[in-house]
Symmetry: C2
Amino acid sequence: MSKVHNFSAGPSILNQDVIKKASEAVTNFNDLNLSILEISHRSKDFVAVMDNAVALVKEILNVPEGYSVLFLQGGASTGFLATILNFMSKDGTGAYLNTGAWSKKALQEAKKLGNLNMVASSEDNNFNYIPKVYPISTNDDYLHITTNNTIFGTQIKKLPVSRIPIIADMSSDIFSRKINVSDYAMIYAGAQKNLGPAGTTLYIVKDSLLGKNDRTIPTMLDLSVHADKGSMFNTPPVYPIYVSMLTLEWLKANGGIEWIERVNNEKAALLYNEIDNNPLFEGTAAKEDRSNMNVTFVLTDESKKEQFDQLWNEAGISGINGHRSVGGYRASIYNAMPIESIQVLVDTMKKLNS
Amino acid sequence: MSKVHNFSAGPSILNQDVIKKASEAVTNFNDLNLSILEISHRSKDFVAVMDNAVALVKEILNVPEGYSVLFLQGGASTGFLATILNFMSKDGTGAYLNTGAWSKKALQEAKKLGNLNMVASSEDNNFNYIPKVYPISTNDDYLHITTNNTIFGTQIKKLPVSRIPIIADMSSDIFSRKINVSDYAMIYAGAQKNLGPAGTTLYIVKDSLLGKNDRTIPTMLDLSVHADKGSMFNTPPVYPIYVSMLTLEWLKANGGIEWIERVNNEKAALLYNEIDNNPLFEGTAAKEDRSNMNVTFVLTDESKKEQFDQLWNEAGISGINGHRSVGGYRASIYNAMPIESIQVLVDTMKKLNS
């Protein structure tokens, strides 16, 4: 079969070497003559996987001392809840920046379970920009942000200056660019974009902030419990963590964050350049807030839709339809997406006749 | 390499055909030329997996109308919490039967977040039996039971007669024997014993009981939300669900529950027979409560330990050390364990010199 250019928004493309190793481990893991799917999570072979995955996160993101790296379950949607239970005091308030569908889900949960202070929102313009000037009250327990907005194709380029702890949902741009972990009280991210397959969620959390909330925290949502047990309080999602470890090994071997940030900048520039120079297309996000992960664009002439859809289908492109709330197209160009696939998309855009 | 006889308590042995298909799907799923790890959970190919997995559960367990079958995340430990939030009213009480380490964790969570009524406990004798006579108050919201106790090797053979809804943690014996789903308000089970790899948790829940509790339920723990969205409220753990589907296909193709119950009875009888007839071994659980899934036994003469450990190691047996709270040995003989492997263990036990 010919190559598929997989622009899916997530679960999304993984590196081919990672996939090959991931497949092999299902039949024979570490030459044990056992599948990784059927070994105990307490076995030394899996404990080594967990330790290695944690060490790689720390190395690649330069995580300072005093932070725990956890691989848990439940997706970012559970992260919304973990944020509230671990960081919002019983009578306290969480400050939220509303930059898209996922931000909104996070803040709705805060409203449901506590008090919400929405510091700013770009919903007035269908979330096509990132609000930049807004007050942050030191009365609030934390500021919650979504660093990349998958659906709307925007990304926070500059972290707000905040005197309260910042908690960031980085599900769709973690490991795509340099970050300064010490700027955050907590970072959480569903694995299924830049880290691995669906089924595990990464937390990077400042230890000194845990165990201090006055809420009754259910055990499975208490991050101090998971930190104390090294993500092994209960059976972890073994295989998603293993594939995440392989992805982190791939990232490290190729040059880590400096390398991938440079590559991601090149990849995004290639596609945005075509969008800006081809009169048949236009981007939907404010230029200064454009995401390097999810590139959203529409046709300037809707009558060309059938022709364009046929062209990209023929080119082997998949997963490029925009989310229903934006329409048009969305090219998700996560870490594992090769620039060659983006070139195929750009060439296809050039082929569209005006 | 020679065959490994994998008696691990969980994550545990899977059928070899399942493993082969599971490995292939990682490189090329459904001939899409894409890995199952990198496709969208909204793609028609994965939606078909989810639909098939749910249909197989319903068929194999003969699930009546009015129950939802869900594949969620978080393990049985999250099931403890989902039980309380969805079924224990704000001022209500949960009744719990305490038959082992996992029962105890479930009831401790109830104590933490509400009111606990422990109807009976076998902790007085290190959980080596199942309490059978105890009052069940109709003032309590539900009765929670753990049908099989992995660590202690006991299993509930006869469901208590209860006028309040029964909620069962069946993590370690679901799909091993016939059950009458309509006897339960909810059944939940971590996949990693009889169903698939670690990373997904099965819920079978009576729809008419959902959405009626007076607690504020966080979205991700509200089973009515997941039931409404067919386990697709957020990104599901794609691969663990896929491998579970394969396991269910294997079970159905071989004859379903009737077949596996008969095989499990034969397998357990083979091993218990040796334990009862070999003077060098004795079982730790009360005979009438012995588990067909986890067979716990000790040496009658501890001085034989070194010799026995060497014998089973040489025979290619793995994962047979008992849990530290019982000591001795534990042979977990879940559905996928072939009787040939149990015969190897029995032969090894016979080889031990008196």
